[in-house]
Symmetry: C2
Subunit: 342 residues, 2 copies
């Protein structure tokens, strides 16, 4: 067994180099889907599907009732729970819950970090992403899906120095100065990207709201595009959200509803090099404007620019950056200080 | 904390009623993507994407290099490993690794079962499924995706008595006699279904082969459509596959390559009511023909029709059926007898 085990460990270590330092003891783990609705297709012709060679051929009748717009949630419940409420992890646009798992270069991700700390953790795939599946398109999903090129993600997510900074050859990439993103594993990160629509916000919001109704009170840690969803759900379910951790939110909620957040602790984290990128400067300003409105309305908002705290080089994907656990520590310390951990 | 915990448990128990009976101790858990290739789009116009209200608008240039055809793998490594090699779980068509997680009615699935038994378990999403993502379509995926209606899955997977047996009202469903499928949770099962292509077999096979090269020697447990992939990978990597467990395989490998399986232990499981359904009678006969060829070529094939062993009522989705752990016990006992467990 030891040789076989070594082989497995060696194979995994190629891409999952460090992994968890200590055993993880779970009371349970599992998954479920939540939300969605039924839609009907009618009047379309039956088509024959080319089956596997040697298999039994199939006719597909597309007419009928479909389940659409559900989302997927995977949960890990520690044997010794130390968070006073569960912690929900919501990913950004064009990604899935994989965001918080093992980093692209095989290090420990935030999912394992928070589970090992004793948080009951719910990591999800939003509507039309990953294991949530996607509805018959173009029938029930308005607009076209967005597929991201390798260059686009590199240049937009403050890994590279904007347009023209991507190159397949790591040596020829132009990363942001002092970047913490593991650029040698950038190609592996691109395997995590999934198509997404910019037209499914209402369905996504509905599913997240159902999730909160089901598993909260809770803390929500959310990234980028999930900003609008988390802030809006928190406004609508303020009694169920004990704290929000906004990781470079790309937008806020509804400013008119901000008074609903009165008294709610909100930590917003922003990484490095934002001032080198006009688009990110605008995105940050936009989110900060919403947050300041929430503060004026009584929310307990802390805006933390990591470089000001001496934490430098973070890209938009700070949960994958080389110092990702240092950033996780910032969140953990804040949650402890807010009395949400024992 | 106890009240909050009770709330969580109560909420979860609505859909995850039983879950794991005993704590799960993991040495590690994590995920990775494997395989795929680069493709290029050129000559297309730039388009503006309607952004979140209040967000910063984006222009999307679709031209560039894309990563396509990778697959996703999530792994759970028990603190006390008892399988002599890892166990891989491969799902069927139109589904994902969720197949093996919590059942649609919230009971313990095969993933938790095998992890709790001490198997290092790798549960994956095949190419174009779930967290594997899917390639720019129609540019790089030939043919149209198949979306399954609620009726189709019910009527085709031997949950219902064929055409016309589905009804949204559980009381009006016509399930197979004595079915073990939790039909009261059928609607929840439909949330697990994802679009799939019948034209991506070569890419899927390539990615599974890379997975085996990376984490095996191993045992592969596979379902339905994964039959062709598992048998073909086993033929090509016979030195790395210690045993195959075929759960209602919908097809075999290449009969001409069957001699590669000489000496390999193969357990094939078939559920109940196959003789009531002409399509399933044909599918089973097709798979059995391949298996008998493999046996003649020296593979150690056991074909187990569960009803003959007194295990009745199993649908095509036996890992979700109410007696799913009884079926898992059949697999576990067989693996122990094959000397793959200590």
């Amino acid at each position: 067994m030891s040789i076989r085990l070594l082989r497995v460990v060696a194979a995994l270590s190629l891409l999952a180099a460090c992994a968890s330092p200590a055993p993880i003891e779970l009371r349970d783990m599992g998954s479920f889907h939540v939300g969605g609705r039924e839609v009907v297709i009618s009047g379309k012709p039956v088509r024959e599907v080319g089956s596997t060679p040697g298999g039994v051929p199939s006719k597909i009748d597309p007419n009928g009732v479909y389940q659409v717009e559900q989302m997927y949630v995977q949960y890990f419940l520690p044997a010794r729970e130390r968070g006073t409420v569960p912690l929900l992890l919501w990913h950004g646009g064009g990604l899935t819950g994989v965001t918080y798992e093992t980093t692209p270069d095989g290090r420990l991700g935030w999912l394992n970090y928070f589970v090992a700390k004793g948080w009951a953790t719910f990591d999800s795939d939003a509507v039309e992403s990953g294991r949530a599946g996607w509805a018959p398109y173009p029938d029930f999903v308005p607009g076209d899906p967005v597929f991201r090129t390798k260059a686009d993600a590199f240049e937009r997510l403050r890994i590279g120095q904007g347009a023209g900074s991507y190159n397949r050859d790591v040596a020829l990439m132009k990363p942001m100065p002092g970047t913490q993103f593991p650029i040698e594993a950038y190609e592996n990160f691109t395997r995590q990207m999934v198509p997404s629509w910019t037209t499914t916000d209402a369905a996504t919001l509905a599913a997240y709201t159902l999730l909160v109704d089901r598993v909260c009170p809770c803390v929500i840690v959310f990234h980028s595009e999930a900003g609008q969803f988390a802030f809006k759900v928190a406004q609508a379910r303020a009694d169920k959200v004990r704290a929000l951790v906004a990781v470079e939110p790309s937008s806020g909620g509804d400013p008119a509803q901000a008074p609903a957040l009165k008294g709610m602790p909100i930590l917003a984290l922003f990484g490095d090099n934002i001032d080198r990128d006009a688009r990110w400067t605008a995105i940050r300003a936009n989110a900060v404007k919403y947050l300041e409105g929430a503060r004026e309305a009584g929310a307990r908002v802390e805006i933390r620019d990591l470089p000001k705290a001496g934490i430098r080089g973070n890209s938009h994907l700070m949960m994958m950056d080389k110092n990702n656990l240092e950033v996780a520590d910032v969140i953990q310390t804040w949650l402890e200080r807010e009395g949400l951990y024992h």
